[in-house]
């Protein structure tokens, strides 16, 4: 069988520096899935983009060929005219970009942007096209496809945007799908659903896929062959069972060893009773009113968060997991006073043990400034939170400048140090944000959050774009400073293995509600709520011999209305959160 896409000796560089993609070759056959894994910043994204010829304008392709097999034999994409490329892009080869927020136009409705693919290539027209888009929306796990169709990107959660991107890429049923970290922002059940969908399509149409991911569990479940990259070079490549089963190359071995797993046995952590909350949220709700509808339509509300009650203990980590779109980010924003909660909420921050708690909802400007010094955030979407016109140097120094700390030299000093902490080179300080890889940007975001030495840190999926070895490094760092400086974290993640590792307490969210809350050992080993159980079941493991059944796990726990009587809820009746055992709460009717 001839390979559908064959990349040979691809070399890409910037300016006159050494190439960042160096003599990379890989190929993918029709219907097959090739996983590209490797270190963050190793050139995975660039290699994929090169295949579609949408590299940054400054990038130089210094050599190599990209052969795409077509009806009239393979042709080199590097030699095609722009017009011919237009035919290839989106139609034959489509791509899911790594940063879903920035990759969607902020001014156009999601539906409009997706349906365009069909219109452009004449695949479907009119109502047919719309139906097909809605269908795809449904299949990528949107509960309310119509609403998503008419929404603007900024009205969606990170995972939703990512799914919109996925829908955009697969709606046209391409021959080859290049998926650049397609599930980083998705909770595991949704991830399973999406991966299942892709497999299904591969089955139906023989679509090939290049899957760039850092999640070895996903690789294990999806890939037919694997290419491992590091620092711009291919380290190891071959069929998945072989590479995963018995890695040969030093880097590969190292990488696979770093993969986190939910520990097999539970080690009880000590419990102290007098809980000292650094941040406490009481009765916090958030309702959004949707834009975009015509003025004469009735207003549409989204209940993003409904009556959240939890707290972050001093020096501890509260992990929040849950379904994509369940209100985690909204919660985090409110915890930092960046978003006003609906009236009646109380968000209390206590800077010192025993100090007077301040309500973030009613803060004076001086108090607010003081609070902002102590509480920082690592954003879910690092790209859009970095000013595109600011060098990293300035972006990193900005928090200190704002609070008037240090001299210029000291700031730079600290910035370099932070960069080193998160595993980046200090030379990157003079770059602009767009010149980084996804994972590098995420680390920038972490570095920036640490610049002020905060005492409370909200991390919204801080490691989702990092390969396991870098992730390990970052987690270690976080743990270390937590223990050293008595930092408190609110840690949002979809990766249960990470959560298991770092959390002192876990809250599981679904549709704006906390449905189960408790220490990780309790939660992971005796989950009570059907949704929690589903989540755990859907966690993929990096073991090629233990594939999860995408079909069944992607069902998740189903709709809340289909749950067992005790847990069932709908918009009107919501069961209370009950403490079933000490520290373990479950939302259920008694």
């Amino acid at each position: 069988m001839t390979a559908l896409l064959k990349v040979e000796g691809l070399t890409i560089g910037f300016g006159n520096a050494a190439p960042v993609v160096d003599d990379v070759s890989f190929s993918v056959d029709p219907g097959e899935t090739l996983a590209l894994v490797g270190e963050s910043g190793s050139g995975k994204t660039l290699s994929c983009r090169a295949a579609l010829r949408i590299l940054p304008a400054v990038a130089q392709v210094r050599g190599g060929a990209v052969m795409l097999d077509g009806p009239d034999g393979p042709c080199d994409l590097m030699g095609l005219t722009e017009r011919q490329m237009c035919y290839v892009r989106g139609n034959r080869v489509s791509m899911i970009f790594q940063e879903p927020m920035r990759s969607l136009s902020p001014l156009h409705r999601i539906g409009n942007q997706v349906i365009e693919v069909l219109r452009l290539h004449g695949t479907a027209k009119g109502q047919g096209a719309r139906k097909r888009v809605l269908e795809t929306f449904e299949r990528v796990g949107f509960k309310d496809p119509e609403r998503i169709y008419g929404s603007y990107p900024f009205e969606l959660s990170g995972g939703m945007r990512q799914r919109a991107m996925i829908a955009m890429a697969i709606v046209g049923k391409p021959d080859l799908l290049i998926a650049d970290e397609p599930t980083t922002a998705l909770d595991v059940t949704t991830q399973a659903q999406v991966l299942g969908l892709i497999k299904e399509i591969q089955h139906e149409t023989g679509m090939a896929m290049i899957l760039v991911t850092h999640d070895l569990g996903v690789v294990a479940n999806m890939a037919d062959s694997v290419t491992v990259m590091n620092r711009g070079r291919v380290m190891e490549a071959g069929p998945a069972p072989l590479v995963l089963g018995s890695p040969q190359h030093g880097y590969t071995k190292e990488l696979f060893a770093a993969a986190p797993m939910i520990p097999e046995s539970s080690e009880q952590k000590a419990k102290d009773d007098g809980r000292d909350y650094i941040l406490e949220m009481r009765n916090v709700s958030k309702t959004y009113t949707l834009k975009g509808k015509a003025p004469w339509h009735p207003k549409e509300h989204v209940y993003a968060v409904r009556g959240i009650e939890f707290g972050v203990e001093r020096g501890k980590t509260l992990a929040v997991v849950g379904e994509s779109g369940s209100g985690k980010t909204t919660c985090a924003h409110m915890a930092l006073g960046a978003e006003w909660a609906d009236p009646g909420a109380e968000i209390l921050f206590k800077p010192e043990k025993g100090a007077e708690a301040v309500n973030l909802q009613e803060l004076g400007s001086a108090d607010r400034l003081a609070f902002q010094r102590k509480a920082q955030m690592v954003f879910q979407d690092p790209y859009s939170t970095l000013n595109p016109r600011m060098r990293v140097k300035d972006a990193l120094c900005e928090p200190m400048e704002i609070h008037g700390l240090g001299t210029h030299g000291e700031r730079i000093e600290r910035a370099t140090e932070m960069l080193r902490w998160v595993g980046l080179s200090e030379n990157m300080l003079t770059r602009y944000p767009h010149a980084f890889s996804g994972g590098q940007r995420q680390r920038l975001s972490i570095a920036r959050a640490l610049m002020l030495g905060p005492m409370f840190l909200v991390c919204d999926e801080p490691t989702s774009a990092l390969d396991v070895s870098v992730q390990e490094q970052v987690l270690q760092l976080l743990e270390e400073i937590r223990d050293r400086l008595n930092l408190s974290y609110m840690f949002i993640s979809h990766d249960l293995a990470v959560v298991a590792r770092i959390a002192d307490e876990v809250a599981v969210m679904r549709e704006g509600l906390v449905i189960e809350q408790g220490p990780p050992e309790a939660l992971f080993y005796s989950p009570q709520h059907p949704y929690t159980k589903a989540l755990l079941a859907a966690q993929p493991e990096p073991d090629i011999n233990r594939p999860i059944d995408l079909q069944t796990v992607s069902q998740g726990a189903g709709k809340p209305t289909t749950w067992p009587e005790a847990f069932r809820f709908d918009d009107v009746t919501i069961p209370p959160l009950l403490e079933t055992s000490p520290g373990h709460k479950v939302r259920c009717h008694v």
Partner: protein, 342 residues
């Protein structure tokens, strides 16, 4: 819903602003010393035509020009009754033009549609030239097409309008047989619209449109280009490319909409700015638009006529900003007009 409420609220504000503006307009017109009739009398005497003086004096009482200024204002706006039951602006009575010795409504009536015609043509020209050229200049920045359009545009900008008009008229007439000045062949004046008349109007519009339009087009083109270049590096542009859109189509659909934001903000002032900005051009080109009326009226302090024209322009401005705000909200869904932390 919000946008509807917003529109209603804005409309009410607009009316209030209009009243404020009317006061200021009236005050400014009356700022220079003297008034039409005394100037008129002076002029008649100075040129030895003293036999016309009697009539000028007659008009003074007829139009309440002998009363204090505030009273004149109230009468003009229609808040207070004038002599002989003169009813004022708000009742659609626009007053009398001394200069032309006709009701203001009669004079402006005809000029109004010509003004709209000329300005529409100019705006159309601006958009038709600036949009494609701006997009092309951005897409092909630093190529000959970028440089040439910049050069020609700046040439147009750097030439005083009147000089440009003269040059174009002179050589246009010489080599292309284009007409000099005016908006239609005089023989069609007052005739009903016909194919021939239409043609004549179009031919006459060529040079004025060009003269009024070049500066606007050049300005818009360059700014559009700059804004577009900014957008071109954004990732969503790459997404669009990855979908297989052709470069121009992509440019037009995505970045253009973002880049358009500053222009939409100005859409409201486009029309009035052209009306008042083209006053001098109209004067020198001999276009029978509202502009020359305004200038003569102002110079001779023909109170009601200039006040009406200015009110008209002010109204255009206000309606224009209203529209532009509504458009802005439609253009960019993220925009809220509410306060910082709402």
């Amino acid at each position: 819903m919000a946008i509807l409420r917003f529109a209603v609220f804005r409309f009410i504000t607009m009316l209030a602003t209009l009243v404020v503006v009317s006061v200021m307009i009236f005050a400014i017109i009356n700022l220079p010393p003297g008034d039409y009739l005394s100037n008129q009398i002076n002029e008649l005497r100075a040129t030895g035509q003293s036999s016309g003086v009697a009539k000028a004096e007659f008009l003074r009482t007829e139009y309440a020009l002998d009363r204090p200024l505030w009273e004149q204002y109230l009468i003009w706006m229609g808040f207070a009754p004038g002599p002989h039951g003169f009813s004022g602006m708000i009742q659609g009575e626009f007053g009398w033009s001394f200069e032309f010795d006709r009701p203001v409504a009669d004079i402006v009536g005809g000029a109004l549609w010509l003004t709209v015609l000329v300005n529409m043509a100019a705006i159309l020209f601006v958009y038709m030239v600036a949009l494609p050229l701006g997009v092309i200049a951005a897409a092909r920045s630093k190529t000959w097409i970028d440089y040439t359009s910049a050069f020609v545009g700046y040439l147009g900008l750097a030439t005083p309008n009147f000089l440009l008009a003269l040059i174009l008229f002179y050589y246009g007439n010489r080599y292309l047989n284009l007409p000099i000045g005016g908006l239609m062949d005089p023989k069609f004046e007052g005739e009903p619209m016909s194919y021939e008349k239409m043609k004549s109007v179009l031919v006459h519009l060529i040079i004025p449109t060009f003269v009024i339009g070049t500066s606007g087009a050049a300005a818009m083109m360059q700014r559009l280009r700059a804004n577009l270049l900014d957008e071109l590096g954004k990732p969503y542009v790459e997404t669009a490319r990855a979908k297989g859109m052709s470069e121009t189509r992509m440019l037009v659909k995505y970045p253009l909409r973002v880049a358009f934001n500053p222009f939409v903000a100005d859409i409201g002032t486009l029309l009035p700015a052209m009306v008042s900005g083209s006053v001098l051009v109209s004067v020198v080109l001999g276009l029978q638009t509202i502009g020359p009326f305004l200038l003569t009226a102002l110079k001779s302090q023909d109170l009601f006529l200039s006040a009406f024209v200015l009110m008209f322009v002010a109204m255009l401005t206000l309606v224009g900003t209203l529209i532009s705000d509504l458009l802005l909200a439609l253009l960019d869904p993220r925009i809220r007009f509410g306060g910082r932390s709402a």
